[in-house]
Point group: C2
Chain length 196, copies 2
Amino acid sequence: MSSDKSQDTRSRILDAAWRRLESDDPRKSRMGDIAKEAGISRQALYLHFPSRTELLVATARHLDEVHKVDLRLEASRAATNGIERLDAFISAWANYVPQVYGVARAFIAMMPTDEAAAAAWKDRQRAVRQGCKAAVLALHRDDMLDPEWDTKCATDWLWAHLSVENWERLVRECDWEQEHYVDTIQRIAKQVLIRK
Amino acid sequence: MSSDKSQDTRSRILDAAWRRLESDDPRKSRMGDIAKEAGISRQALYLHFPSRTELLVATARHLDEVHKVDLRLEASRAATNGIERLDAFISAWANYVPQVYGVARAFIAMMPTDEAAAAAWKDRQRAVRQGCKAAVLALHRDDMLDPEWDTKCATDWLWAHLSVENWERLVRECDWEQEHYVDTIQRIAKQVLIRK
DNA sequence: TTTATCGCTTGACATAGTGTCAAGTTAGCG
DNA sequence: CGCTAACTTGACACTATGTCAAGCGATAAA
């Protein structure tokens, strides 16, 4: 199960999946396409992953590890005050989005039909929401949260505002520069959440 | 082509499609399900609509007519100043979203795979964006647009903020009351777009 | 040197949903 | 009576996922 060769192939599959999902035509990310990209047969894929959903979940986790998401988000927890923390969290997450975009899109596409994919994606979303909540609570502790908001709704809004779909719309469809996106979202978040 | 009976069946199909898309389990909106709901055979559907995509497009247009979207959005154009216009447009659109949600979700689900569905949905989106643009330009004419923004980016942001996905997240997933959603989005839009 | 096992291949097949095709039925109408 | 429009039934092609079975080659253990 965990021989060198098997592990090596597994990595090649995950890389191949990522490459296809990130490519020009992400519709060419069927099991056969990914297998071909990895240089193995379609059936061999199923020897490593029981389903497309599981493969995508593994690919997402793989990306998390490669890009050390934990560390990135950790940094925002180190901020000394609520505002810095908000900025740091937004910057950390918003700059990770472009790198998981391919995988995210695949999950979003599968959600309506695939129960398991929907669950996996929601789970990841929950983690982001957790970060939003922490940022909002930090603001609240500093008595910096605009009294128009309760912490629950503020978290909801921030989370929605940081969604992959929002990023997709602004950066991919409206051609915002990534940097402009991050700056603008930070500015708006502060403007909306922080007491005047 | 335009006999009474044929037109009547067509309406029944559109109603049936809408009902299924809006139902508890919208995955049960396959061609067979919709046909059954309309009380005809699956094949008869294809006598009226050449494809599922075309059926959805027709359903969306049907809803637009039934709910008189043109009139609703017209009202926002009558506002005397930019701020009123922004409020009116947001209220008009945001209160229409719940009624097209089922159809919207179906389009969103088909987008990644179906070229024609993607085009049709983007076309509808363009219309909303047009409304956003008009509202932003009205603000700009009143010299009320925050100088942080140029009109293009302000339009982009407002459009993203009013997306169906955003509504879905806040109202369906986070359990906001529709009224609370509308009020909050209006408040934020003003806070973000209007010069201090 | 034989034997077993692991990782993989090839090819056939089940399933679900869309869309096509062909032949037949039924109701209304001149 | 016979025509036509609207619809039915049933078979089929296609695509993508996922399953199953048989076989093959290299490596490692007896």
